[in-house]
């Protein structure tokens, strides 16, 4: 089944310019992505045995994708025998309907959520709000952007594009509606304290908690959540109903596989050995005085299983650590919103068009990658991100997804430059025409498809005589000297 992802109606050029113009976002992203990458290098250097665990973890993820059908059955029956309910959702729409009907069954009014990219992907909040429910994000960054009616700009730092003054203003408005005292300053600690108090009330009143899932263990029916704020701990412990919405690709076969992978998101994404709060849920509360009375796990496909048995299969191993975003030179400049959907950075470039069969983000492989290969080096799950980006570009040509003029230009360009003769011919023409495009001895403009390249660059003009031409003129002379 083809997946459905949210899509920003603005074209790439506008999204890109908006990202480049947002100095707050670029400063914050520069700071956090660097901190994350430096931290990652440090933890792997200090604990070299973690590299072995990572390698085995990659194997476990690959195996799990290969056996996904039987793992899904095993996981679902294990969740049931633990006292929970497992549901399958083929599409985003089915997933939202499943959560809505759970909410209706349990007469839920207020929902608290911990951060989940999948619920962004299926636009769960919109679906629940349309059914008359109040939905509150509890991750600090997510809470900020929910107040601003925006979407995350980084998987791990969703509000990286907002500065303290903007956040204070949002919270001042929020305090009025909630009848609370507004934050007294724009210090990060004061704003955080405000969110703590504001959300604590909601936590205690909420009927239903919604979480994502970082890993699911088929052998034991366990769902694993990682957070640093501790909000997932409240979401999973306070409301009477708990719903876990998780992609089908999150499953691993055995408990032992989990032990190999559990540290990988934090180690690779933020350079921590383990998130401050990691929660392993294996069932609803049976005989304890806390925790949900009912637990549901909604397993969402939304275009994922279509990728199995294709060259793109390894994409399903992604653990959403964010390591590829942190090292991507394009991401660090334009930020997450420029990618026009939920997933940003190199994994977004690959996954958005793949999940939607080029329905969303078809432009991304062509425009949002410099082919530097930093993501391939960074990915702990060894996903061939740059290779996939090239394959997606080829796929676009085969499917005629590029503008006809662009395809024609590249076609002629590649034909001409495929032979030395064609290349030299093009140089002769360039030499003849370049006079029109020079300033102070540099080539600063060009016509046609090369125009965009010169927007931020210049280059030396073609020499009046190239080395090859010079050589051909003189080699004859040398040969004559040798012979004599």
């Amino acid at each position: 089944m083809i997946g459905n992802l949210p899509s920003d109606p603005h074209p790439w050029s506008e999204r890109r310019e908006a990202g480049l113009a947002n100095t707050t976002m670029r400063q914050t992203l520069g700071l956090v992505t660097r901190r994350f990458s430096v931290g990652k290098r440090r933890v792997f250097a200090e604990d070299p045995e973690q590299e072995a665990a990572r390698r085995l973890g990659v194997e476990a993820k690959r195996q799990a994708i290969a056996n996904l059908d039987s793992l899904l059955d095993q996981f679902a029956s294990k969740v049931r025998s633990n006292g929970g309910t497992a549901l399958m959702a083929g599409t985003a729409h089915e997933a939202v309907e499943a959560v809505r009907s759970i909410a209706a069954t349990h007469q839920v009014k207020v929902v608290v959520k911990s951060k989940s990219m999948l619920t962004e992907e299926i636009q769960l909040n919109r679906g629940l709000e349309a059914a008359g429910l109040t939905v509150l994000e509890t991750d600090l960054g997510e809470y900020i952007i929910q107040r601003a009616h925006e979407t995350p700009s980084h998987i791990l730092a969703p509000a990286a594009h907002k500065n303290r003054q903007q956040i204070r203003e949002l919270f001042e408005d929020d305090a009025k509606t909630a009848g609370l005292a507004p934050p007294v300053s724009d210090a990060a600690s004061t704003l955080t304290q405000y969110a703590r108090e504001r959300l604590r009330r909601e936590f205690l009143q909420a009927d239903m908690g919604v979480t994502g899932g970082n890993f699911g263990v088929a052998e034991t029916g366990t769902v694993v959540l990682v957070t640093n704020e501790g909000n997932a701990d409240l979401v999973t412990t306070l409301p009477r109903v708990l719903v876990t919405v998780m992609g089908v690709e999150k499953l691993v076969a055995r408990w032992e596989d989990l032990t190999l992978l559990i540290q990988q998101p934090a180690m690779n994404g933020i350079g921590q050995r383990l998130s401050a709060y990691t929660t392993l849920i294996s069932g609803p509360a049976a005989s304890v005085a806390e925790g949900p009375a009912a637990w549901y796990v909604v397993l969402v496909d939304n275009g994922r299983q279509r990728l199995r048995h294709t060259v793109y299969e390894d994409v399903l191993s992604c653990i959403r650590c964010g390591a590829c975003l942190n090292v991507c030179p394009v991401f660090r400049q334009v930020g997450g919103h420029a990618y026009g959907s939920v997933y940003s950075g190199p994994i977004g470039v690959v996954e958005t068009p793949l999940l939607t069969n080029f329905g969303v983000g078809a432009e991304l492989p062509s425009v949002a990658c410099t082919m530097c290969h930093a993501c391939k080096e960074a990915c702990p799950m060894e996903i061939d991100l740059p290779g996939h980006i090239i394959r997606l570009r080829q796929e676009k040509v085969r499917r005629h997804l590029n503008a006809a003029s662009l395809t024609a230009s590249y076609h002629w360009w590649s034909r001409i430059w495929a032979t030395p003769r064609g290349y030299r011919w093009s140089l002769r023409w360039a030499r003849r025409l370049q006079g029109l495009y020079q300033r102070q001895g540099r080539l600063v403009r060009a016509p046609g498809i090369a125009r965009g390249w010169f927007q931020t660059r210049d280059m030396p003009p073609v020499a009046q005589e190239t080395f090859i031409e010079w050589w051909q003129r003189h080699r004859g002379g040398l040969d004559r000297e040798r012979r004599s």
């Binding site: 700071l31 604990d47 600090l140 701990d233 990691t278 392993l280 304890v288 005085a289």
Partner: protein, 198 residues
């Protein structure tokens, strides 16, 4: 397992736990626990505008130790022992300090594992702004991997297991690190039985 190895693991745990912002105390024997609790209270609770209400449970093996006396002496006002039949939600929400036991603690990541059970609630670990954890020195493991393997080998898993590796924190506002978001901003581990050859 040689004693030296375990004390080495405890040292690694201490370094990593403190690097993450946690506090660490270890008691050579039972008698030292009372004064250590007082010290921890002084460093983590005193000075904050807290009223000194405590919700607590301790590991079954040490339940008969005089915890309430020690806590009162340290400065606690009201004490609520975990009671599966009472409304622990509102009680834990009104408390300033949660004191709990733990299953094991892991050196490499500086992690404490706490399992949910009828006499062991998880709300005291997240609702109060201060969380104190008492744990047996002998329960130290080298890694989270090892601790999780042991847990599975024991048979049934708890409905919920929590791995805590430092205080609740965020860097969501301009990348500035802030502790104490939704969970506790102060976390302290008190290891007992160090002198028992654990």
């Amino acid at each position: 397992m040689s004693v030296d190895l375990k004390s080495l693991w405890r040292e690694t745990f201490r370094a990593r736990w403190e690097a993450a912002g946690g506090h660490y105390y270890q008691a050579a024997d039972r008698e030292a626990l009372g004064s250590l609790l007082a010290q921890a209270w002084g460093e983590l609770v005193t000075g904050q505008t807290l009223s000194g209400r405590v919700v607590y449970w301790v590991p079954p093996a040490v339940e008969d130790w005089p915890w309430e006396t020690w806590l009162h002496r340290a400065g606690a006002q009201d004490l609520f022992k975990w009671d599966a039949t009472a409304d622990m939600r509102s009680r834990a929400a009104a408390c300033d300090v949660g004191l709990t036991g733990a299953l094991w603690f892991a050196a490499e990541t500086g992690t404490v594992a706490i399992a949910q059970g009828p006499t062991m609630g998880l709300l005291p670990t997240v609702l109060p702004p201060v969380h104190l954890i008492v744990v047996d020195a002998a329960s130290v493991v080298p890694t989270v991997q090892e601790g999780l393997k042991q847990l599975q080998a024991q048979g049934s898993l708890p409905p919920m297991l929590k791995l805590i590796s430092g205080p609740s924190m965020t860097a969501d506002i301009e990348g500035t690190l802030v502790v104490g978001v939704h969970g506790p901003g102060k976390v302290g581990v008190i290891v007992y039985g160090v002198g028992d050859g654990g």
